[in-house]
Point group: D3
Chain length 237, copies 6
């Protein structure tokens, strides 16, 4: 199957990193293409970034070249443009926040999130309520480091994230941790090993769930609010 | 005070209509400017329309000319770009869905929504949950007419909306009705009179609540997640 | 417009103070009358105080002299008699707790409450659930000072309140603070300035929202449970 | 044990009827005194009735003669003054709505309420949310008959109530029905028999639960918000 | 009346202790039989223990000798097999967790739970959500001692439980404490006295509520999902 | 990978059917073993069936032969013994109700459930609340046919299920349907095709999600309440 992983920000190093991780964790026979929009924010660190990145992500997905993939992963923890992308496409579309929540709740009764910035943790809270996972998440914790620094894999940021995960494990009465930023994906295995509880990266979760949906033959519903957008004169994107 | 009312779609007749209504219902001393983005969907009738319109709305609000208004109303019932606009601006920003819910709950214990399309009623449901008004709204009803037809003020669409409001009054055990589309604003007074219960148009609600916030000196909080977006190289909009 | 602000307790100094603040924050053309019931508790510091004050407030509002106001504000943070007053009157009736919550959620995603007594904070919690704002309030904090001391504007109580607001700002991940007692109204501006985030006083919020409702022509619904009470022999108040 | 059953309205026939039922369903050794306040509404059919009756109920309970009962039942389905009465008294105080909900959820997974007036069913809904039983109640149904007519035990009103209970049984996927008015108490046994599912009267439920609390030695907590009201000059009731 | 108290674990000392307490707190005329299954876990300290104990409890209750009791109490804080037992029996069946929650909410607005093991506190949380008491419980606290040690009434475990109750009283803003293990029942009175707020043991609560239901004539509904299990070939238990 | 699919009831024809479907929908390289317990109910049609089947399912899973599978699916729509099985095993364990909810919410915003018996639909409701999917499920519908008849693949039962699914599609404002019984699994594809919206069978969903978890390296958390049961003398299963 062909899987398109979209990094909604325009940091191409991060896109490459996400693509690498997606390929590493994909199953046999999954071909991963990782892309990011031409324009938009370099990182998604506030409500406005998310709104702008959402539109650019949709623009990318609307291109004929990309419509024929078997499945799609939106690799930003705010799941920008998720419902809109589902409308435009027939293959399943998975957001990495959503994906991580699904995986976490299948292996633990309660989890915490460790994310990048304090100011964006409200977005995680809103997603938890929207999707129905609010009761299952104990706490959203932030290391308060910018996305670029995290994704750049600096030793200091990795240590800060690991330390916050340790605090989550010791204080939150949880069974699993969700990493709340696509730029943290490369840290999941190492922290899992060192802390002794599952630390879930949404990129890996999104890839594996996308494969599960394609394997099971489940496509995005085209009945109801995910039906293709109505055709009107002058309508974008 | 100077109030900027943004119609997030690009239907200029509708923008003019919204501006007219905003001016009619504004208080003494409020100067209303009604605008719509240069580009984007002609009407907002699905998730994708909303995401695209949100970005264009932000682009408009980011222009230096528009940053100095005392307050802002986003005149589309999905409240697109609301949180992002709050980040970018210091004057209060009100969405018309939110505004209508606030007004409805100050004059009735329960309300219903009468909106345009069945497929977009899910957006109203999500807003109700997000804002906290889910328990106070009995039902989201749709007349299943396109926005253009509603805003065009055709007799038939007006009658369909009035009839649905009547059913809401008679079946839903409510005290008020919220009109779920900026294009319905011109109908509120007439249906209020004919049905004998308050029928609330979000444009009027947004204008009056914006005046209240400006009058009371309350601006958008710049502490926490509505602080100005972080400055980074290459970031839009 | 003529606005009746009712202080449900019988502390006339506090009534005068509330009237003064209401007048200061009212818009041009709003005439404020501030009253309190003849009888009832001197301050509202427990469930029983609230129940007794509610009945006296209704008795006051039932007098023919007071029925003709354009709008009403009930200036006690428990919103006593709010729904009952709406039944009896046609002009809009606003409670100051409710008003502060509405304003807070239009300028911030999350807020905390700083109230007087620990024992009455449960009433704030119940209101948050009842109105639908529970998810948007992080925490109810109490300085545990009696209402009389707070309203008396002693330096010590003002400092205690400001200190608790500072803790709320620093610990609660909020964007705004709601002052949970009509007797704190005079402190809002000063604490807003010193802390750098909006500190909302319900009296001002109630006055401005009442003006908004009157301006917009929205009256209390007389359809459903806010219809005028049924006429029966021997029925009070 | 000595049990004081307060009918918060001033309909003395109804007080006598409630007393009779309370005595019939009380256990061996329980002495029932049934009282109603001197003043207040003849029936409780709206928010204002409830607020006024609450204050009169408190006034009655504050009299030295009545403070020494072992337990108290407030026999109106809105549970007026419940929390305030708990503050003022040390013996347990039970509301009949609350009592019926407790009993219903111990013998069925889901129940419906059949109450008197449509306009007061909102009060039942608010109680369900406040107490935590909202998910366990399927529907609040009203026969839309005044309380006086119901309590008067007219054949027609009894039939209307039985018919509504039958519809609840057949349509609501429930295991039990709660009668939503003290004036319906005399009908519970007969409808239980004819419909074949438990129909719960709150007066009986309140009496039996009061006995259980007294028997078990559980008194109203005097720690926290039910501690005795603070003593202040000039404070009622 | 004849009351069967089932201890779902197979620790016979604990069964005897539970029986002793049930008898002490039962009303006049209540004959208590305390039993435990022949097989199953010695204590219930995890999800698997609970599932296994549930089946053994049902097996015991299915025996003809035990079907004719007037009421039943399931004396384990996870309320194992509660809904299933209700299906099989006509007399009311009460779980001790449920019972304690009912009692706590009739005498306090908020309570905390002090339970045995950290790992089982998730079960209490799930029950609180399932029954509807989640908003009324502030916190689930665990002393992290095995059930056997608690029930054995060692001085050290009693002190640990009392100390945790004290912390709950001082930190949780509650009016009552629920003891979250049948093995703690003997401590309730002593801690109530020393801390000055009601500390509720579910065994006593279950016994008294069972008496209330029998006294009021309320049996488990046989309409809906508690109707007797369908008869099929080869079906257990 | 080796996947153990447990049918918790003892109907061996149904076990064979479930195994066949699991094999058909499994991915390349997945070896499916389908088993059912030696004893227990022939079908799971009430609370008691579920409790008994849960214990037998655990007994099966506790056998050394079955502990070494890579993953487990519990193929009954009540997800019996799910949390207990997770405690006992290290490989991921998926319930088919849970699995179907996860899949449904990744391809639609709202779904309905079509299940077998009216009396067991309460179990689906409780699972929806417990897992957090309550807001996303519109309605639980029952065809009121026994499981045996459904699994037997009689034409009449297939038609009844298809007809109920059609009603769900036309009345419930949904985008997907979840089949609420393992015995309906063989109908999913056909009804999907005839109705034009995704109809999700939990067996297929469970198999594909189990593969995703194994592929991604996520095992059941052994930190917290899913840690291996404590070792005690005399403890089952």
């Amino acid at each position: 199957m062909r899987l398109l992983v979209v990094n909604p920000n325009t940091n191409r190093d991060m896109t490459a990193q996400i693509g690498r991780i997606a390929r590493e964790c994909a199953g046999y026979g999954t071909e991963v293409v990782a892309l990011s929009p031409e324009a938009g924010p370099l990182s998604i660190e506030c409500h406005a970034d998310e709104a702008v990145a959402a539109a650019h992500t949709l623009e990318l997905l609307a291109q004929p070249d990309y419509r024929g993939f078997d499945a799609y992963v939106i690799a930003c923890f705010g799941d920008p443009a998720l419902f809109a992308a589902r409308e435009m496409l027939t293959g399943p579309v998975i957001g990495i926040a959503e994906a991580a929540f699904h995986v976490a709740t299948m292996i633990a009764t309660r989890f915490s999130i460790v994310t990048s910035l304090q100011r964006t943790s409200i977005m995680s809270e809103e997603l938890l309520v929207r999707y129905g996972f609010a009761l299952r998440c104990r706490r959203v914790r932030a290391v308060d480091l910018p996305v670029a620094e995290i994704a750049g894999d600096h030793a200091a940021s990795g240590q800060a994230i690991a330390a916050e995960c340790r605090r989550a494990r010791d204080e939150d009465q949880i069974g699993a941790i969700v990493l709340g930023c696509a730029g943290m994906a490369h840290l999941a295995d190492e922290i899992t090993t060192s802390l002794g509880l599952p630390v879930i990266d949404g990129v890996a979760a999104g890839v594996r769930l996308a494969e599960a949906l394609v394997g099971g033959g489940w496509k995005t519903s085209k009945f109801g609010d995910f039906a293709a957008p109505p055709t009107r004169q002058g309508t974008g994107p």
